[in-house]
Symmetry: C2
């Protein structure tokens, strides 16, 4: 049985253009045999942010802790632990840490898009 905790996994720095002070941990992904979607854990340090971008697949996000701001196509919201955000396909989005503690969240993606291409980071 696969049981994992983010705090027991080493994080990988996200080097994508536009990312600042972001680390990812794969919780359940293609390498584990995930058939449809992948669960990733992100840590955004104070002052950091994810890339501001869009793509033609969705995110479903659960904020674990910290404080931040999310953009969804020009709409901005404050986010904190317990919030769930649905990032629709093709919407410009970004997660920014606006607090003094790490912003921690789960971000799920489909494992494939465009009729079978592997989703980056899945």
């Amino acid at each position: 049985m696969l049981v994992r905790r983010a705090d027991k996994l080493a994080g990988s720095a996200v080097t994508m253009d536009g990312a600042k002070s972001v680390a990812m941990r794969m919780m359940v992904g293609r390498a584990d045999g995930a058939p449809n979607f992948a669960m990733r854990h992100f840590t955004v340090e104070p002052g950091g942010h994810t890339p501001r971008h869009s793509h033609n697949y969705e995110h479903e996000v659960y904020i674990i802790g910290g404080e931040g701001r999310v953009e969804h196509d020009g709409d901005f919201r404050a986010i904190a632990g317990g919030d769930v955000v649905f990032v629709e396909p093709n919407k410009v989005h970004q997660f920014v840490n606006t607090g003094a503690e790490p912003l921690l969240f789960l971000c799920l993606v489909p494992v494939s898009f465009d009729c079978g291409k592997p989703t980056p980071g899945s």
Copy 2:
């Protein structure tokens, strides 16, 4: 932009055979236009449990809080806040609250299975 919190949503009692003291809140689902997978929030009260069953689609689970035990095809593990569990397709599984507080978790499912049937509770 869709931002939701479980503590602002009314829960629906899970009436499936074998469920005891379980409530579900839909965080992101088919009705929201989720293209591939649905995020549901579950509360299992002390002494309660989810059905012990299997099906041919997976779960990806994030334990938010509380204490419990998960079965995955005869393998048992203690679970607590921060644990991620991958329930593979066709494995017998059950989540049991073994603590004195509610067991809270996210459980994600694909929105369809068997070549397009809507997944129950998606």
